[in-house]
Symmetry: C2
Subunit: 386 residues, 2 copies
Amino acid sequence: MNLTVNLERLQANYRIICEQLNGGRAAAVVKADGYGLGCVEVSTALAQQGCRHFFVAQLSEGQLLREALEDVEIHVFNGAMPGTVDDLIEHRLIPALNSLDQIERWAKAAAQRGAELPATIHLDTGMNRTGLGADETAMLIDEPWRLDALNVVHVMSHLGSADVTGSSQPAEQLRRFEACRRQLPMGFASLANSAGIFLDPAYHFDLVRPGVALYGGNPHPDQRNPMQQVVTLTAPILQVRNVAVGDFVGYAATHEVTRPGKVAAIPVGYADGFLRSASNTGIARVGSVQVPIVGRVSMDLITIDVTDVADSELHPGAPVELIGDQVPIDEVARRGGTIPHEMLAALGARYERSYVGRDPSSPTPEQPKTRAARHPSSPRPERPET
Amino acid sequence: MNLTVNLERLQANYRIICEQLNGGRAAAVVKADGYGLGCVEVSTALAQQGCRHFFVAQLSEGQLLREALEDVEIHVFNGAMPGTVDDLIEHRLIPALNSLDQIERWAKAAAQRGAELPATIHLDTGMNRTGLGADETAMLIDEPWRLDALNVVHVMSHLGSADVTGSSQPAEQLRRFEACRRQLPMGFASLANSAGIFLDPAYHFDLVRPGVALYGGNPHPDQRNPMQQVVTLTAPILQVRNVAVGDFVGYAATHEVTRPGKVAAIPVGYADGFLRSASNTGIARVGSVQVPIVGRVSMDLITIDVTDVADSELHPGAPVELIGDQVPIDEVARRGGTIPHEMLAALGARYERSYVGRDPSSPTPEQPKTRAARHPSSPRPERPET
């Protein structure tokens, strides 16, 4: 099985986003190992397009990215958690300060060092997840000395419902963010995630923070997807069998065969991040034929009904497309009852990733085209039989 | 955040399984990196308990395990797929031959080498996933020369519904397996997975193949769990906030606050394998209090309602139990609409795993107690602030 990441299309998606902006800049959200696609590879490709602002969730992700990219801003959403200060400073990472507690910790570190430290201030405007709430924001406005030791390069908030058609939440969050901005006029401002970018220019401010749209996910699932598909997941047929009417397929016998046909087993399962919730609802592509996943997705295997596929396509080793141009990531996610973000991030520990479309004009040295799976159990790729 | 694997309890679970048997042996299913808990660590601990038969899904998993354990049988469920023969032989791996096609490929390799090769024959008895179907099994019985070049050490089938109360499928699979065995009387026989082991001794044969029960999952979810919990997942509080009636929490505003209270954010999300399907349904434990997950699980964060938790437990960095003795893996899975197998396997690429309870009488050299996360973005553990 093979997960192919098309870096040219990733770069094209970045340009599509930049074209939406009127003078503002586009960052890149590359947390969760670049939405499962390789933080360093993805970030390097985007840096080639001029991206200079990167966002990760965890300190450790920032450390890894800093080793790859020396001259970009790296922001860490989790912020200055206890125990992280020294490493944040050492790797020149900018914490999103989510609370007065984090502001105090970061300011204290700056005072101890006798130097201003760069910071993002994260204001919550209605998600009630992370970021300074209205109470803490009011206190910060009243006591601006809390930021004296810091260089606030960026003030951000995050939209909770920008992809929910008809929701009043984005406009309310925008109103609150603008109100705070008037009283905390520091650094550049950002509010928009992927969905916010395509909602309205009012959400753009100085910087937008696309995530899933870069990776091909549709920022507004009920509209045409303006992004290009970035990911292709294929796997070889392990086995094809004949099935008869009344046969059952898979665990708990959830699929009953209703016409004589054929079922193929594919060596991909939920341990690979192919969510079990796609049981009996997902699809795949064999040659030019779309086929249904039948029965439960199991840990290492899925079963597909290949009755309508030509015999010539059904030999062991023949490729099956599980995600790709004909099986878009949004549809895979929707059929599994989730969102492309989760599918991408789950795309497992057991895949070898291949990268195609690396910009030939890249100023960086030639990179290997294949990256080993993250899983430790892949000492080397399986080789074709000779 | 930290995923702790209790190897003593894993070993206790192995002994509990062995006690069910009447002279038969117990193998261990360690595919998917040992159900997400570390194939090598888990297998080494079980080998110390006398386990000599290990099952993985993929060639690459078998290669890794062979490097760690020299003198055990390692079976590969995916079998002799195209392109795998040389590596299987080199690492002394025993393929589960799932089809006449795989038997032919493996026999041809044996003939070319002029030496018998060991093999498992996998008979399908009703799951229609992998394994020789009735048609191929009949052909094999009629043409026993197909196995002439092979040393069949093991004949297996797999139960599809042994954990489904009242299902007639296990008995039907048992009947078919016994019928085949009478005509293919080679090697030792195995049929039972975790659920089959606790179903009835008739399913035990020579070898049983427990998977999820070893790792603490309940083999029969509607009965008392005879296994010990193996996994503990804890994470620190990132931030605590006050929320008011009418506030919303998380993406798409799916949770509305109905009493004044507190919400804590925890830096664990679906990118860590904490499935998004636990949104608004999961639970956690803070101190001695069980608390609900409120709002959507997001990529790197979950939010919990901590209104009923003492303030002394609610500082940033305070531990929250997401899986453990008080939050069993079965309940976590059930609340997420899935099975413990998927939760375990999904327990992500971003955790550091710690191992406790390693048998001090271990004949193997002392092992490090902590293993780095599989994720490449963890150059080193975060250290406590000094």
